[in-house]
Amino acid sequence: MQEKITQDMFVPVRSDAHKQEYIARKHHSAFHDGWIRLRKNKAAVVCAVLIVVITVMSIIVPYTSPYAYYETDYKHKMNAPSSEHIFGTDLFGRDQWTRVWYGTRISLLIGLAAALINLVIGVFYGAISAIAGGKVDAVMQRIIEVLVGIPSLIIVILFMMVLPPGVGTIVAAMAVTGWVNMARLVRAQILKLKNQEFVLAAQLLGTSRWKTILRHLIPNTISVIVIQVMFAIPSAIFTEAFLSFIGVGLAEPKASLGVLINNGYKALRSAPFLLIYPAIAIVLIMVCFSIVGDGLRDAFDPRMKR
């Protein structure tokens, strides 16, 4: 038998306007959101930790090691790895363990310096080009196109041959063309932002030009900049290694990973261990920076989330 349904069994549901607007989610800034996503990316976290470890080691080891990177010992030339010399010794009896970490330090330094110079020049150039617009923009873009047209490696090698060899020269040589990518990215991002409605709204509310740049344009460009820096570091390290490998890089006894690989390559038959360790170091650094860069892009790129 069916139960009879009567009027009094129903109660109207009231919707509470206040409750409708309630947001249950705990609040995070967009940056915090990205940070949470980054932490979920295991590979990126591991690589970030590795980068920190490698950096710290490259600072500490050359100081604490009993051997200096330039200290020769002709009695122990090309020794295989042992408890005395963990990575063995090179052609002049220098401790390879110390030299690998010292070389890592120099390589990281070059990578970082080059990336920072790219950052400063690229961001200013790109931002000015995008904000000024019109003729200024057109001229600045033609200059970039000319720079892109010249093979950058030739500029770099020319620089290295004219100026005295050293870390500064390498960084300067790479800075000549290295900032172009950053400038293009920053310009594209600012051009995109400039036409977005929140920038128009700011203009209507009477926000000054400078304030608009500082509050609206730059903060929305930072993630692009950071990610590009993370890719610029390994690329600078690689360029330096390549230059040293073809013999136009640093001079002895200074060592970068490129110099070490070059030396190791020469002694490949008799002492393969001289090549292996610096090679592993450079691969590790490049891979780690790339993965962290990728992770940052996935975590902070606004396209992932509105």
Partner: protein
């Protein structure tokens, strides 16, 4: 009460695309808005509604014509005091709730931007109090002030945008398709909010949309645009009852009627052909490529907007 707050005369806004190509986004538009009224502006996509709105508010310099807002020439040279006054009294609500709020700023700071620029709050506590009050007036809550835009739904964001526009206490607001990015139930909510705010604060609206039925609901008068021209302008009831321009008639016939019997019995005007390209237009009636009753006289030039009945203007060679 019936004084004009905004007067637009022969306004044109052209974009130069190449050496010889000129895009006439807005071309010779005249109308005026009385204090406290809502003028709806409809027309299909690309006919220049946003360009018109942005030129009127001063975002784009006009190519020709004159915009007068309460005695101030918007397109001309202004003193900084006048510029200040304009930015306090004219505001805009934008179409896309996803790009109209800065994703890196808290709602508190988004809404307070105008308050800061015009030094409307004496101290931080007052600033916060004003923002909370604005949030409440658009149906949001104090709790939302410390959140970021990505944490809100589209309708909520649109209301944050409304609160931002209200923050400087404007008396004239241009709403550029404020509801077209929202779903239907939220559309009604936002339109009702705009209506009630209008009553409370005695606002004047220029309401841009392409949905005629929603425009009728909110507007006192409606202007119909076609390819940069205003082709018809009348009280909303009058426009719906006696549409005179063939384009308006076609638009109205496309609105479905709620009564199925009436719906069955009526004929729909289907426009043939497509919109002419807005680039390098010939100097004839803009609608003539699609008009069903066009004749020789249509090629003589752009017909002027003439008053055929009290308050009912139309720009068509046949009606005159």
């Amino acid at each position: 009460m019936a004084e004009e707050i905004l007067k637009v005369e022969n306004l044109a806004r052209h974009f130069t695309l190449g050496k010889k190509q000129v895009l006439k986004a807005v071309d010779g538009v005249s109308f005026s808005i009385k204090r406290g009224e809502t003028l709806g502006l409809v027309g299909e996509s690309g006919c220049g509604k946003s360009t018109l709105g942005r030129t009127v508010i001063g975002l784009y310099p006009p190519t020709a014509g004159k915009i007068t807002f309460d005695g101030i020439d918007v397109g001309g040279k202004k003193t900084s005091a006048q510029r200040d006054e304009l930015s306090r009294r004219m505001q805009m609500i934008f179409q896309d709730p996803y790009t109209s709020l800065n994703p890196r700023m808290k709602v508190l700071d988004i809404i307070a931007e105008g308050i800061d620029n015009h030094h409307l709050a004496a101290n931080r506590a007052e600033r916060t109090r004003m923002v909370v009050e604005l949030l409440r007036s658009v149906g949001l809550d104090e709790e939302h002030a410390n959140r970021y835009p990505h944490e809100f739904s589209g309708g909520q964001r649109q209301r944050v945008g409304i609160a931002r526009a209200l923050s400087v206490n404007p008396d004239f607001i241009i709403a550029d398709e404020p509801i077209s990015a929202l779903d239907v139930s939220i559309q009604a909510q936002v339109v009702n909010l705009l209506k009630s705010l209008q009553k409370k604060r005695n606002l004047t609206y220029l309401f841009i949309a392409h949905d005629l039925s929603m425009v009728k609901y909110i507007s006192d008068r409606i202007g119909v645009m076609y390819l940069g021209n205003l082709v018809e302008l009348a009280d909303s009831d009058e426009l719906f009852a006696h549409p005179l321009h063939p384009y308006t008639q076609a638009l109205l016939s496309a609105i479905p009627l709620p009564d199925p019997r009436a719906e069955r019995g009526r004929s729909r005007i289907v426009l043939e052909g497509s919109v002419s390209s807005p680039i390098n237009l010939p100097d004839c009636c803009r609608f003539c490529s699609r008009c069903q009753s066009k004749g020789k006289e249509c090629e003589k030039g752009i017909p002027p907007l003439v008053e055929v009945r009290p308050g009912h203007f139309v720009a068509c060679c046949h009606v005159v």
